[in-house]
């Protein structure tokens, strides 16, 4: 019986062996599935008249992304930050002109924290506040103002929607500094914007 079907058996066995070869090769290779998640954010700063194309002495000149708090008397409360420019640039003006405005540029919800890279100079404290803007913006923002320092990440918003339309959604962040008997120093600190996708 076996001999009778010998050729068929050999044929089928050879075929199975050949068919299994590419299978073995497939199993030997990592399979990679990209998931189309785009995680991204944008931070905008105030733009004063003329900053886009400064051309006269009255213009503030080219802007940097640096911001500064200035107190000339040494003791000031609720100082608002301004862009660092050649001739004095745009400043925060309460919630109407926030210093930072965040939008979600990806397709998953975002959360964001801020932290300074090192401790603030003696006599200076900084507070941060945030509010949601845009129709359908369900992001969680800061209620009462919270301190911004180098010891704890300040959660400025959570679950910021993806921006399905330009009208929705953004987060306005305002900063305030208090100076108490501070004199004769120009100090620089970095703020780190930490984001996490939060879907």
């Amino acid at each position: 019986m076996v001999w009778k079907h010998f050729r068929l058996i050999v044929f089928v066995a050879a075929f199975i062996a050949l068919a299994a070869m590419p299978l073995a090769e497939w199993a030997n290779t990592a399979v990679i599935f990209n998931v189309p998640v785009d995680t991204g954010f944008t931070i905008t700063l105030p733009l004063g008249a003329g900053e886009a194309n400064a051309s006269s002495a009255s213009d503030p000149g080219p802007a940097t992304a640096d911001i500064n708090f200035t107190c000339v008397t040494g003791t000031c409360t609720r100082v608002e930050p301004c862009l660092t420019t050649a001739f004095g640039g745009s400043c925060q003006a309460g919630a109407a002109v926030p210093i930072f405005q965040y939008t979600n540029a990806g397709n998953v919800n975002l959360s964001m924290t801020l932290i300074f890279n090192s401790s603030l100079p003696s006599g200076i404290t900084v507070g941060v506040n945030s509010s949601a803007s845009g129709v359908g913006n369900n992001a969680v923002t800061i209620g009462p103002e919270i301190p911004l320092n180098n010891s704890m990440e300040a959660m400025i918003f959570q679950e910021l929607n993806t921006t399905a339309s330009p009208a929705c959604c953004s987060i306005n962040v305002t900063l305030y500094a208090n100076f108490t008997s501070v004199s004769g120093l120009v100090e620089q600190r970095l703020i780190t914007h930490n984001s996490t996708n939060a879907n």
């Binding site: 075929f15 944008t42 905008t44 733009l47 996708n197």
Partner: protein
């Protein structure tokens, strides 16, 4: 013994039956084995494989001339659209002045087909797509939906100083215990960003990760793992380490988005699930100085620590 009607052909008839049985088995096996493998082993097909081939429309007469317009108006509308723009693939959907795109490669005619194949995971090999695809802003989620409008009507009272994104941000890798491979992601400036942003990448071994828009075959999304174990089992490197993202506004500059390669070597990994992430950190001091002196006020050294998920997260399933 019953006489066999055609003794001379008996042997041949018998063999014929064997052959037919053999062919039937081969056909079944071929369907079973080769069907699912065709996609995996076929070289990337020259793109428009899904384009219908039965093109029967040479010209479409106007509604007044053609009786078909009365009989089958819906079909005729579709035929007319087809003739005007066969697969809606040859042009950008975002209507912007050409200067905006002047520094990115020409828009491929099959762009939206390729984009869909990538986004659906039908083609996972990022190397298959050239710069002419992934340097287009339309390659990234949300440009056509919302980014386009931001370019058409940019804010007049604010400017985008910082912003970057990773795409894809997560990947599932089915890996053997000993294996070597590459994965890729794109790091891009986000919409309206006008600065040159310097950054670098670091390899992280998070203890916890969660898939955002996908899941493992068993439906689970989260992985909790001992980072020390992961570190022991996987060698991971990123190339390039330092990256300068060029502005994306008002012109998408050539380097507004860049492809990053992640090389992975799995070393006798215990079967299970693991996570390795890539985070964005400030660039090296030398690179930061180089870029700052070159671009001055237009330059920002960005990146920082991370909480939660890393910017690019690889979820490994090792069997």
């Amino acid at each position: 013994m019953k006489k066999k009607p055609h003794s001379t052909s008996h042997h041949g008839k018998k063999m014929g039956k064997e052959v037919w049985i053999g062919l039937a088995v081969i056909a079944v096996l071929a369907l079973y084995f080769l069907g699912p493998l065709q996609d995996a082993f076929a070289p990337p097909a020259p793109v428009p494989t899904i384009i219908p081939t039965a093109i029967t429309v040479a010209t479409t007469p106007t509604p007044t001339e053609d009786p078909f317009w009365t009989k089958y108006p819906d079909l005729m509308v579709r035929l007319q659209q087809y003739q005007e723009d066969p697969f809606e693939i040859a042009k950008r959907r975002c209507d912007l002045p050409p200067q905006v795109y002047a520094e990115v490669p020409p828009f491929p005619e099959d762009f939206y087909v390729q984009k869909l194949l990538f986004h659906l995971g039908k083609i996972s090999d990022t190397n298959y797509f050239g710069e002419n695809y992934w340097k287009q802003p339309e390659w990234y989620p949300m440009f056509d939906e919302s980014g386009c409008k931001l370019y058409q009507y940019p804010p007049t009272d604010r400017w985008a100083a910082v912003g970057y994104g990773t795409f894809p941000s997560e990947v599932i890798v089915l890996s053997r215990r000993n294996d070597e491979y590459e994965t890729h992601f794109f790091i891009h400036s986000t919409w309206l960003v006008q600065t040159y942003q310097g950054m670098a990448f670091s390899v992280e071994y998070p203890p916890h990760g969660e898939l955002k828009l996908s899941e493992f075959a068993d439906g689970t999304r989260t992985v909790d793992v001992d980072p020390e174990e992961t570190k022991k089992y996987f060698d991971v490197s990123v190339d390039p380490v330092d990256v300068l993202l060029e502005p994306a506004f008002p012109v998408f500059q050539s380097g507004w988005t860049q492809k990053i390669t992640v090389k992975v070597r799995a070393k006798d990994v215990k079967p299970g699930r693991y996570i390795v992430g890539i985070n964005i950190t400030p660039p090296s001091g030398a690179k930061n100085d180089e870029w700052f002196y070159k671009y001055k006020l237009d330059y920002i050294g960005t990146g920082g620590g991370s909480i939660g998920q890393t910017w690019y997260t690889m979820f490994f399933e090792v069997t």
